[in-house]
C-alpha cells in the first residue's frame, strides 16, 4: 500500500528560529545570537537541525497519521546549515516496501536546491 507523501514547504525565518529556541529551550547562540554567529565559520545564525527536521516529521504525519507516531523510524544526516530566509522543501520518495513496512528516501532542500538534510524514514503500513 504505497502512500503519496506530500512535500512540506516552509520559510525558515529568524523569528521562527527564535520561537523554536523558546519552545525547545535550545538557545545555543549559533541560532539566536547574530554577533556570536558572525564569528563562527557559518558567518551568521543557522537554524536548529531539529527545527528543519520537524518538516520531515510533519510530512510523514500528514501522509500516515497515527501510524507514523506509533511506528515511524527516521535516520538522517544534517549535511548543511539552513539560514534565516531560506525556504525549505521536505520531500519523500518511496524506496522500498516489504513486510508491511514502507521505506522512503527523505530530504530537506533549500530554494537553491542545496540538500540540508537527507536520510531514510520508514513506517509500518500494514499488519
Amino acid at each position: 500500500m504505497s502512500v503519496e507523501v506530500r512535500p512540506v514547504v516552509r520559510e525558515i525565518t529568524q523569528e521562527r528560529i527564535n520561537a523554536y529556541a523558546d519552545a525547545s529551550g535550545d538557545h545555543n547562540p549559533i541560532h539566536v545570537d547574530p554577533a556570536f554567529a558572525r564569528a563562527t565559520p557559518f558567518g551568521g545564525p543557522i537554524a536548529h537541525g531539529m527545527l528543519v527536521l520537524a518538516l520531515i516529521g510533519e510530512m510523514m504525519r500528514g501522509g500516515f497519521g497515527d501510524a507514523w507516531s506509533r511506528s515511524g523510524k527516521l535516520k538522517v544526516r544534517f549535511k548543511a546549515p539552513t539560514r534565516p530566509g531560506d525556504t525549505v522543501t521536505a520531500s519523500a520518495a518511496l524506496a522500498k516496501e516489504a513486510g508491511g513496512v514502507a521505506e522512503y528516501a527523505v530530504q530537506c532542500a533549500t530554494q537553491s536546491g542545496e540538500v540540508v538534510i537527507d536520510g531514510r524514514a520508514s513506517v509500518t503500513v500494514a499488519g
Binding site: 516552509r10 521562527r16 520561537a19 523554536y20 523558546d22 519552545a23 525547545s24 529551550g25 535550545d26 545555543n28 547562540p29 549559533i30 556570536f36 563562527t40 536548529h48 537541525g49 531539529m50 527545527l51 527536521l53 520537524a54 518538516l55 516529521g57 510533519e58 504525519r61 500528514g62 497515527d66 507514523w68 507516531s69 506509533r70 511506528s71 515511524g72 523510524k73 527516521l74 535516520k75 538522517v76 544526516r77 544534517f78
Partner: protein
C-alpha cells in the same frame, strides 16, 4: 529524569515549527525527541557552538499530552577529529502511565543524536558512559 509535555508546551512547539497537523491529544514524536535531547544536552553541558550532525528516532508507541515520562540517556561514543569532539548521545523515553490508546506499554521513543563540539571547549562530562 522525569518530565511531561503539557498542552501549552506542545502548542508552542507546533506554532514554532508551523505544523498544522491534528495530533489529537498525542505528542508529535519529534517534539518528544527534540525536547528530550535538549534536556540531556543541558545535563552534559555541551559548549556554545555545538552542532547537531545526525539524528535517529524510533517511535515505538504514541505519547499522550501530559503523560508522565521518564528519560534515560548516555554518551554512547566520544571521538576527536580535526579539532572537534564528536559525541553520540543515546536516549529512551518511557511513558510511566502504562498503556497507550492502542494498548502498548514500555519505551515510547528511542533516539540517537550525533553532536559535534569544538575540542578545546568540550566538557569533561562528554565522555563515554556519562549518564543523564
Amino acid at each position: 529524569m522525569t518530565f511531561s509535555l503539557d498542552e501549552g508546551r506542545i502548542a508552542a512547539y507546533l506554532v514554532a515549527i508551523g505544523d498544522t497537523n491534528d495530533y489529537a491529544g498525542t505528542v508529535p514524536p519529534l517534539a518528544a525527541a527534540a525536547l528530550g535531547l535538549e534536556a540531556l544536552q543541558g545535563e552534559i553541558a555541551l559548549p556554545e557552538g555545538s552542532l547537531h550532525t545526525g539524528q535517529e528516532v524510533e517511535h515505538v508507541r504514541t505519547l499522550l499530552v501530559g503523560e508522565p515520562l521518564t528519560m534515560t540517556g548516555r554518551v554512547a561514543q566520544r571521538s576527536e577529529r580535526q579539532g572537534y569532539v564528536i559525541c553520540v548521545i543515546e536516549f529512551e523515553i518511557v511513558a510511566d502511565s502504562g498503556l497507550d490508546r492502542a494498548g502498548a506499554a514500555g519505551v515510547a521513543i528511542r533516539a540517537r543524536s550525533t553532536i559535534m563540539a569544538p575540542a578545546g571547549a568540550a566538557p569533561a562530562g562528554a565522555a563515554p558512559g556519562g549518564g543523564a
